[in-house]
Symmetry: C3
Subunit: 468 residues, 3 copies
């Protein structure tokens, strides 16, 4: 009798235990979805910031690029990108998937494996379309889309819409997913620790390099190739300010981005059961504040008055920078990382505009490219050894130079170089190919008259129709 | 001793099991609330899309309708609507409630039951005001409000505010709740399977018919009764474009709606523990993209340039269409459903404007009515039998025509016909009654001069006051 | 053998139980974070409402204050404010923390303890930086920031930016945290029940007094000290309307605030496992609707047409009022509380403008101050004894006057008086000190010409640069 009772009890315990594990999975999927939704909403933030910082005659066009890139990205990433990025085993197994997507294409050299890209999961066919895979797809998709939308700001007010459409397919199917595979999909940059003893390999918690540098490097190369807007540089070669037309849009957009960033960084645990999410969220908040305040102090003491658009870019810069290290650093370090980013973004924007003479209307190269690199370096400097046990298959927690592991900084530097090389080259080649199919830049008449009607078929602001 | 231990252990197991079940309830309430909040935020999206697509002289009025409809809806649904919709047992028991609201009024014919409306839960009195009921109220309320706000777009720029207020009480207390009861509250359309063997009855996961068609049919009938805006049709009867005044508003509004839709569809499980939410979310995302891209391709190849306002409507159309089938279809099917919707919405908008000669300034009839019907048909076509086991009390999963159950398509068609008949008739009657109390339309002077000051007591844009 | 089995089984049960408790903690942190993110987003709502209700020539300045106050608040609260507010044991122990922050400074009189402020947790040093503390910091921080942003509306269009920066540090480090400690951090106002038998002490569920009255009283005193805008009062002393420049901004901002309020009030449980969150959410929704509809009826019947800006303020007023009592009252009471607030805010705004002759451009004093006080009174009137068992260490649930406990109303009144005295005095002193360092008000030339270029270094709207 007792034996039967015990057997029965053991069954109940096993069932209860199973329910608990199911509950963990459910909470993790809920968390991944909700934070993913918040990241998706960042699209609206980008649209507003970029449109506010450019001119009224191009609002429908700038808005249109930021709008359609979301749709293009979804289609490209669904068809090809997700498979290339996550079709290896890496991220899926940590997400609790069943490895059905295990299909990393890798080369083997000297006993070491170098993952290059995934080969499964294309088109989300029914065979792979489980709930965990779907949640992972959604989260990775909105990350990719953040990248895809960044270059639209740097090439705004002159990029032909057809060229933008083609380029955006390239970034969502190839350029982003391949680099993301290397860092997050089990690819070779994540294996730098295992293979060469460089810390835990290239560590990027939420995408300072994967998302922001990819976008920022594409932005810089694209803006360079596109050439400056008509009137940006005088006959003497001096840069002339072309003020954005709507500061409330910029501030609203920045707040939406700051809101979405609380999905971006904390959501990157892919697990609500990992209570580190609270530390990640607060570090993100602290760096955002320090970035904005750093830019306030710098512009105020440098120029006499603060510059509101730079305050906004400072907050974005702080958040870009903390994106890689947010899970690994202390609160005071987060303040410092943000503060540096807030000054760096102002200095970098002026350098790119006046020295490199590249016309990036919204400062995307500085915000996402330069401060993304600073964020990656921050991991190698400030990671304090309290998180990341076993990260990328390397025993122990993640430590930066200041906490005793200089090799982690080396891995950061290497990841930056590879990023610049891959994204720079691919952007150059892609825009050349696209340009041979359709001109990359609108005509002079269209640029002077405004891109809205010729490119988007509609006036951005039709006040006369309303006031009469 | 061991017996005592076993008894003690059994008690612990039971307690732990109870905690696990409480945790499931908590997660489900958290999920229902958060997704409900996201749906509530869609009100802002509707306000922006409708205001952006209409004229500057009416912004306070268009904004004002979209604003106050939320308050009116809450009051009407709290007092009467919720009880009529959910006062039967249907949804509450599946939500884990304790059936205290069991009170469906039904007629019995030939041994079959036909639920007509609920009779309990009015005013949320303390007796019924438990946490699960409150969560259900909030979620159903924001769904209803989506419906209530749709007609304001179709009747914009000429609808008298007092008439709008009265009509909105009617839609939130009667028109919507009754149809919602029939589909979601245990009413007779949900019983078509049990009673007549039509698939699983009328299946609408998140409201292509309940929410969107109700709003879209009311919009079409209302716009027809209201008559076109002054100047919309020339002396020759030809439609003249009246461009919207602010495209950034339209894009921002569309993004807010797309964000909120991730609450709308996945939240409709009312359960975070149902991991199907991830599939629902991704299907919604895929259809939204396909809708926008379909409209892009169609307008580009049809008219030479894309039309940004149609791209936005295309995304909305894709989401409206996927709302009913989102839990039942594959990823590729979601793309197809969205693509068709994106083209359909453009074709339909032109048909309504130029052939039916009904002036619907924002295209609400096409987006919500026509594409809502397409969404319901999609359930009957593409449901693949992977979800919905026991739905509406019918054994087995939900399958559409392509997966072997043509009767499911018949149930879809029947639900559409009933929707058009009920909503069309009720809208007609209600607007007639309201029109006998207060004119439905503003005066010619008010319409020409703009509705803001005479109807809302304020200028929408007071630039002169600021620039001086 | 059975004994070993039982031992093993007992171990499994303990492990499973532990997992369940971990799951509860995780759900509570997820809930606290997500609702905290929603509150953070309210910053955007405040920025839009205040900017929409003021003039176009000052948009960058009004936006700039609402933007930078977020960064200032984070820095000030991180360094000092959080420690002062929560460095006592009160809230942390209920949040499941381990009391490591236990450090309330209190005085003892006649055997009673009177908590004054916390003394631990400054700078979030690694020793205290656990996940629960981080989540609590984030949530409290965004609450404080709501307070800090309220006065910017009342002093808009004339407040010198440097003065604003210094004042905002004062409110985030001292003024708010001290009062918040008294109510939420274990301080003396929370001990009024234990010490003097006044109900459960000063009970404020989500901050009608702590957040809104602190902001509203500071707004009123600040606006009085700042003096009216040039042109607000004629030579005859009569108030002249200065209309806001952009109603769509006001409505969008109000919707964002209403969305965020669903984080504000339900999130204040700090626990997703407390299913009362659903009741809290619905009460908040009902009061928001009643506030807007109350203002609609009042302005329509008083002035002939509704006033859209007052409808928005009415909704905000309803939400401010329900913030304190939201967990303690019935659904019908919530409607009543909101209805009163919707009328009260209109009456109060006119009284302050025409009788007190204080120029508060956005009505912040009325919305947050007056209706905040009404909300606190509502707890003392309508708390129905269904929630709050053991609140503030007093046995039994919270009951107001109408449910048998007049002493609870006395505690509410006392909390209001202390709020007005503390915040009023501190605001006066702080603005005097700040004014001795830098002028509080811009020059006449700057005010007439617009504050954007001289104060923020940028035009808010640069239409000419875009249209050319």
């Amino acid at each position: 009798m007792p034996d039967a009772t015990i057997t029965e009890l053991a069954k109940q315990v096993a069932e209860t235990h199973k329910l608990v594990l199911d509950g963990q999975t459910a909470l993790n999927i809920v968390w991944t979805l909700i934070t993913g939704f918040m990241v998706m909403f960042m699209q609206a933030g980008f649209a507003l910031v970029e449109t506010g910082l450019t001119r009224a005659k191009n609002v429908a066009h700038t808005m249109g690029m930021n709008f359609l890139v979301y749709a293009i990205g979804i289609i490209g990433f669904w068809a090809i990108g997700f498979g290339l990025q996550m079709g290896g085993v890496g991220a899926l197994s940590t997400f609790g998937g069943d490895s059905t997507l295990n299909g990393e294409f890798a080369i083997h050299l000297g006993g070491m494996e170098f993952g290059l890209f995934g080969t499964k999961g294309f088109f989300l066919t029914p065979a792979v379309y489980t709930a965990p895979v779907a949640a992972l797809f959604l989260f990775q998709m909105v990350f990719m889309d953040t990248t895809a939308t960044i270059p639209t700001g740097a090439m705004a007010e002159r990029w032909r819409f057809s060229s933008f459409v083609l380029f955006s397919f390239a970034i969502s199917t190839i350029i982003y997913p391949i680099y993301a595979n290397w860092v997050w999909g089990g690819g070779w940059l994540s294996q730098l620790g295992k293979n060469f003893g460089l810390g835990h390999g290239h560590v990027d918690f939420a995408g300072s390099s994967v998302v922001h540098m990819v976008g920022g490097v594409a932005a810089l190369v694209g803006a360079k190739m596109m050439g400056p807007r008509i009137g940006k540089y005088g006959a003497d070669g001096k840069a002339k300010p072309i003020p954005g037309h709507n500061m409330p849009m910029v501030v609203l957009g920045t707040f939406i981005l700051a809101f979405g960033w609380f999905g971006f960084n904390p959501g990157s645990t892919l697990a609500g059961t990992d209570t580190r999410i609270a530390i990640v969220a607060v570090n993100t908040m602290l760096a955002s504040a320090a970035g904005a305040f750093g830019a306030y102090l710098w512009t105020k003491f440098r120029f006499g008055t603060p510059d509101l658009s730079m305050l906004c870019n400072g907050m974005l810069a702080g958040m870009v920078a903390i994106t890689a290290p947010c899970a690994f650093v202390t609160a005071p370090a987060s303040i410092l990382i943000g503060l540096v980013a807030g000054v760096l973004v102002v200095v970098s924007a002026m350098f790119i505009e006046t020295v490199l003479k590249i016309d990036d209307p919204v400062g995307a190269s500085s915000v996402h490219g330069v401060c993304g690199a600073w964020g990656i370096l921050s991991v190698g400097l400030f990671a304090d050894g309290r998180y990341g046990d076993g990260w990328n298959g390397v025993p122990g927690t993640v430590r930066g130079l200041l906490y005793g592991d200089p090799s982690q900084l080396a891995a950061s530097c290497f990841g930056i170089l590879v990023n610049v090389a891959w994204v720079g080259a691919m952007t150059f080649v892609t825009l050349r190919i696209v340009g041979s199919l359709t001109p990359n830049r609108v005509s002079v008449e269209e640029e002077v008259g405004g891109l809205d009607v010729p490119e988007m078929g509609i006036e951005g602001y039709a006040l006369e129709g309303g006031v009469e």
